[in-house]
């Protein structure tokens, strides 16, 4: 192969690569949350974070990309959960069947600017996990690990109960575009929000296809006396118990002094 032919080939490859890469890099997402460290104090009763962002376009962005769609997925720390079902046995209602959900998010919120089925095809919805029905929630089914159909009794009960506590949510009108490229959304955090690291994934769609995505994160921490109590109860159970027992005896002793009748 002559040097000229080689360079022509290299040029062609580079050009082809550029053509393929262009749609991916033409738009860039720049985002920020209003607070990267949320502190839960003893009188915490929930709050709302704000996520701001903009779509940065460079010259190579196709002009057809004017109507952007945005899906924001917020996931809290993961944990194993058990869902139990009550059944009537011997005239009373008792827990019989149960399912284990493995390493599922303790907090899960999905926000978008319009309904998911308007943003993308069912196939893309499933692949990109758009909507509570499409997010992967792994269950232990016998010896298998799998997610089940969205209308499975245990899965839907799990999602419903988490939603009732404001811990799972799906709002398809929560993302608002202030200008065609500037957007914002609120992230409501209820009072019983689990502590830990939260990931925020922002996906940009146009014409039913994913264009680009980015990630950010924030932490929820307990501070002060409350956090001290919670961690010592978990880490030094015996010492914590001894302290509580001592506190009880002191309270009882104080009462017997204060209210002594003779």
């Amino acid at each position: 192969m002559s040097p000229r032919l080689l360079s022509a080939f290299a040029l062609t490859v580079a050009f082809a690569a550029a053509v393929i890469a262009t749609p991916v890099h033409a738009e860039r997402l720049i985002v920020s949350v209003s607070n990267h460290r949320v502190t839960v104090t003893p009188n915490y009763s929930g709050e709302e974070l704000v996520l701001f962002g903009s779509v940065e376009k460079d010259a190579t962005a196709p002009t057809s990309h004017n109507n952007y769609d945005l899906v924001v997925t917020v996931m809290g720390p993961r944990a194993d959960m058990v869902t139990r079902r009550k059944e009537r046995k011997f005239g009373i209602w008792i827990n019989t069947d149960y399912r284990e959900f493995l390493q599922v998010p303790t907090y899960l919120a999905l926000f978008s600017n319009r309904p998911f089925d308007a943003i993308a095809s069912p196939e893309v919805e499933r692949r990109q996990q758009l909507g509570l029905n499409n997010v992967l929630l792994t269950q232990r089914v016998g010896t298998d690990y799998a997610d089940v159909v969205p209308n499975d009794a245990f899965r839907s009960a799990f999602v419903r109960l988490r939603s009732e506590h404001g811990l799972y949510r799906e709002e398809t009108s929560a993302v608002t575009f202030l200008t065609p490229t500037l957007f914002r959304t609120g992230i409501p955090l209820p009072a019983e929000v689990p502590i830990g690291t939260y990931t925020v994934e922002i996906k940009l769609f146009s014409e039913g296809a994913l264009i680009t995505r980015t990630e950010t994160a924030f932490d929820i921490v307990k501070v002060g006396f409350e956090q001290f109590v919670a961690t010592s109860a978990r880490q030094d159970g015996l010492l914590y118990g001894a302290f509580t027992a001592f506190m009880a005896l002191m309270t009882g002793w104080m009462a017997s002094i204060v209210f002594r009748k003779d």
């Binding site: 915490y44 245990f154 159970g237 027992a245």
Partner: protein, 308 residues
């Protein structure tokens, strides 16, 4: 004012808890009992996980029984020998109770067992107490004197070996039934979050024939030690004791108890027993109704290893 409970993991109104502590304290002071059988259900009804309620109430009862035990000790109304023998059974019972509690929790049947124990125990004891109070009230109305300590009944208890002389109570009794009673009270106390005074006192009076002068003080010592021990074990094994919750309840409880004790002195004994019987019966029935009616939601979620 909302306060976030670190272990129960929910925000509650601090004044609601104080009021509950005071109300239960009033009742417990009035009847001379710990009040755990009222406090644990109340906490469950306001939305605290049953496991956390049971574990936290243990320390609340420890506080109220300690202040009671001190004043009975001053009046020399505690039998130390009897208390020690009861305790030898009581501590074993408590350890067994906490172990069973942990096992049931892993099986997901703890809430059911707590509810069932409440139904069985409270309806039985409440019903008996109510009936007994009603009968003695009717007898008094008819002018018949009621002997508090019937003689001759339950003679088999006195035929048991290993007899010991309990000097302050002036009784001569086998240690076997005493240890057994301690064991049972310690066991159910650890599972149900009760001190057990409302069962222990009738048992000590009718079965062991402990005189009324030492019965309440001595039962308080058993409650004090088993509940302190239960607090320790629940904290060490299940991490479910909410110290903040317990402290608020204690403060309300010990204050309410003082006023309750004064009110109790103004009410006649059989009326008191009738009232207490009704109260215990009502809590038992409340649990029974809960079990029988179809729950609003058949599903529950629990974090594996978490509190709620």
């Amino acid at each position: 004012m909302q306060l976030y409970l670190p272990i129960a993991d929910i925000p509650v109104n601090i004044f609601l808890l104080l009021a509950m502590g005071a109300a239960v304290g009033f009742v417990s002071g009035m009847f001379g009992i710990g009040g755990g059988f009222l406090m644990t259900p109340l906490l469950i009804f306001i939305g605290i996980a049953p496991a956390v309620a049971v574990a936290s109430v243990a320390s609340h009862i420890a506080a109220s029984s300690f202040s009671g035990a001190i004043s009975y000790w001053r009046r020399r109304a505690i039998d130390p020998t009897l208390a020690l023998v009861l305790l030898s059974g009581g501590t074993i019972g408590t350890a067994l109770g906490v172990w069973t509690f942990t096992l049931l929790r892993a099986l997901g049947q703890l809430d059911l067992m707590i509810a069932l124990s409440y139904v069985v125990l409270l309806t039985t004891v409440g019903g008996l107490m109510f009936w007994e109070g009603l009968r003695s009230m009717l007898r008094i109305r008819r002018g018949i004197a009621v002997p508090l300590r019937r003689s001759g009944s339950h003679g088999w208890i006195h035929g048991l070996p290993l007899k010991l002389r309990f000097k302050r109570s002036k009784i001569y009794l086998s240690v076997i039934p005493v240890i057994a009673v301690g064991l049972i009270i310690g066991f159910i106390g650890a599972i149900m979050g009760i001190g057990g005074g409302f069962i222990l006192i009738p048992i000590m009076i009718y079965f062991l024939r402990v005189p009324t002068s030492t019965v309440i003080g001595t039962s308080m010592v058993l409650t004090l030690v088993t509940m302190t021990f239960a607090t320790l074990l629940h904290a060490a094994t299940n991490h479910l004791v909410d110290a903040v919750l317990a402290l608020i309840l204690m403060i309300g409880g010990v204050t309410g108890a003082q006023f309750g004790a004064r009110a109790g002195q103004k009410i006649r004994g059989e009326h008191l027993r009738l009232l207490l019987g009704l109260l215990i019966l009502a809590v038992g029935i409340r649990f029974a109704v809960e079990l029988v009616i179809r729950p609003d939601d058949l599903f529950t979620i629990r974090e594996a290893g978490g509190a709620a």
